[in-house]
Amino acid sequence: MELNYTAADEAFRAEIRTWLNAHLPADLQAKVLGHRRLSKQEFLSWHKTVAAKGWVAPGWPVEWGGTGWTPTQKHIFDEECAGAGTPQIMPFGIAMVGPVIMRFGNEGQKRHYLPRILDGTDWWCQGYSEPGSGSDLASLKTRAERRGDKYIVNGQKTWTTLAQHADMIFCLVRTDPEVKKQEGISFLLINMKSPGITVRPIVTMDEDAEVNEVFFDNVEVPVENLIGEENKGWTYAKYLLGHERTGIARVGGSKRELAFLKSVAAEQQVDGKSLMQDMRFASKVADLEIELMALEMTVLRVVSAESHAAAQGKGGPGPEASLLKVKGTEVQQRLTELMVEAIGPRALPFHVDRFDDPAKGEAIDPLAAYYFNYRKTSIYGGSNEIQKNIMTQMILGL
């Protein structure tokens, strides 16, 4: 057991940090650190900066533009980016559809799509959930009927994150309604500019428009946009959900937010002293910090197990990802709770007009909205109840 980073790891960290210091624009960083809302252009410009450096897809094979980093290096990279306050690299292309295309796509699909994902040409979104199919994803109803060399797609997807920015959507569609629900699903890539697609924003309780409904009205999709075999889409979907999950705990981001929480609390007064000197509040922060320390160690244990497995030619993470998802979101949500607690009645003002610019207003302005927004984390990506079901079955065998 060796829980210190090697000198090589530390050198790697220094390299990342130096590069981030030089290339992360201060205004962009200020927005991220200040919990402000980012534009498409801002996400994209950062994606392109990282892509130009060759670091945008550390999880990909080197031949397709990956980095060849060890699991530990990937972890360090994630942590440094999160700590620095970089915009998130959207996962829909790099972490989701990319690996599916790589694994199950044909050569033409790989050559066409992968470089465009890498360099940011295509912004992808995810067409999984439907109004009637949330936790029970396999019950999806969006139909794709083959007509000649086209599929005709009809139906609706929902909770489609940032679909308003997207060029492409990967969709689970029903191609055979007669068989068992998991067996009639296919995996289609659809151009968002296709006639018949309508995107309608869903306003969330923080009055943001992160998610959308996407409607398909006789949308024509070329058959060459099918991934793998028809009616085998459920296999690919599950692969996608199980791929690259250690980042799911978001330890780096939570460490940054913990520091932010402390800085906010330190400025609040209670009983004539700083709120961080208040035993009750300090205890809550300490408990949370300890939970986060434990989570970081748990992530690193999984990373370490991955490294050993990789060394023996075995693959990917198991159901531990469910643990990381649940604990990760609990920590994230708790951080936002304590931020709101810290600022007391000043949580109330809703200066939504200030949310695009950290120069407007104060650092505390977006915090209540951030709290409400983050309730999503225990719902999306397989709700925490679903994650507990997975642990129950896969780990505990109940």
Binding site: G132, M205, Q269, D271, G344, P345, F350, H351, R375
Partner: protein, 401 residues
Amino acid sequence: MDFAFSEEQTQLRDALRRYLSQQYTFEARKKIIHGSGTSDAAWTGLAELGLMGVPVPEPYGGFSGTGVDMLVVMEELGRGLVVEPYFATAVMGAAFIKHGGSDAHKTALLPNVADGSLKLACALTEKQSRHELHNVMLSGTAQGNDARRSAAPDNGFSLNGSKTVVLHGAQADKLIVSARTSGAARDKSGITVFVVDKAAAGVTVHDYRTIDGMRAADVTLVNVGVGRDAVLGKVDEGYALIERVAQVGVAALCAEAVGCMAAINEQTIEYLKTRKQFGVVIGKFQSLQHRAAEMFMEFEQARSLAYLASVKVDSADAGERARAIHAAKVRAGRAIRFVGQSAIQMHGGMGMTDELAVSHFFKRISMIEATLGDTDHHLAAFAALGSVQENTTAQAAALTA
């Protein structure tokens, strides 16, 4: 020992619930919060139901309502998710006049509160004060020769400083302002409470939305001159008045939270009964069933102490009053967190949307938690009361001696 509501209370509740369900629908409310923030029509409607008069003593045109009467009103306003300035005016504002006003204040102001023609707002919180209402820096300076003092009238004060998160400050006709007239920022003595005309020279009000659909304002006072007759209670001794009024406010907020949570629980149960996944309604999943049972228990426990607070808020026994008020806010706070978060979680993605009422209820109760002292604030205050053990027998008492 009787928890039943009187016939009058039941009638008031029914009338109010009927009015709100017909006139103050979720859609109507949405228009209000994205419009000017309050509705004159609704205000008139509520006044016609007699709501503004409930807390006002009879001699001044009201009904001399008790804490329990206010509980009935606030619970329904919570259930209806009402964003009108009732709390600012009829709960907090009226209580300031009632507990701190002179006969002249009462005669001049209370009848207008009772008939709905006067709106009040309470400017107590400052940027640095968090939950401590004695943390007051806005200065009240007695008459004198320098620039500031010269603004004060004979025997009066000049007010200078800022308040923040003044609930419905911009919608009010008059502001009730706490000011530092002597001592240092966190002294409990040296605070004086003034009634200030919002239209007075030197008063600036910046109106904004709050995240729970209400309105609040930042209020700035520059050389605002007020006379001795603007003082509520006694000069330098305003903090006792503020504390007393805050208790009235806390009892009302707990009742409002109970109304909100009643609605949340109903909506969640309804959702569990209709939403299907895996071929069954999700209310068949035991983990969700048990969470719903826990929401029910949290709600009932919070309700019990909201009732207690509504009775004890009128008590002449300061210790008993404080104990019930602090306990109710703590218990409401615990319930708010659990009930609110659980409701959103069990609604899944739908719970995150602006479209369903449940997210609005969740936002409102969360902000109630942050208003007039949060859970920790009242927990600390409760613990500081010491071990007042009511109704324990002499034998048990002897053990603690």
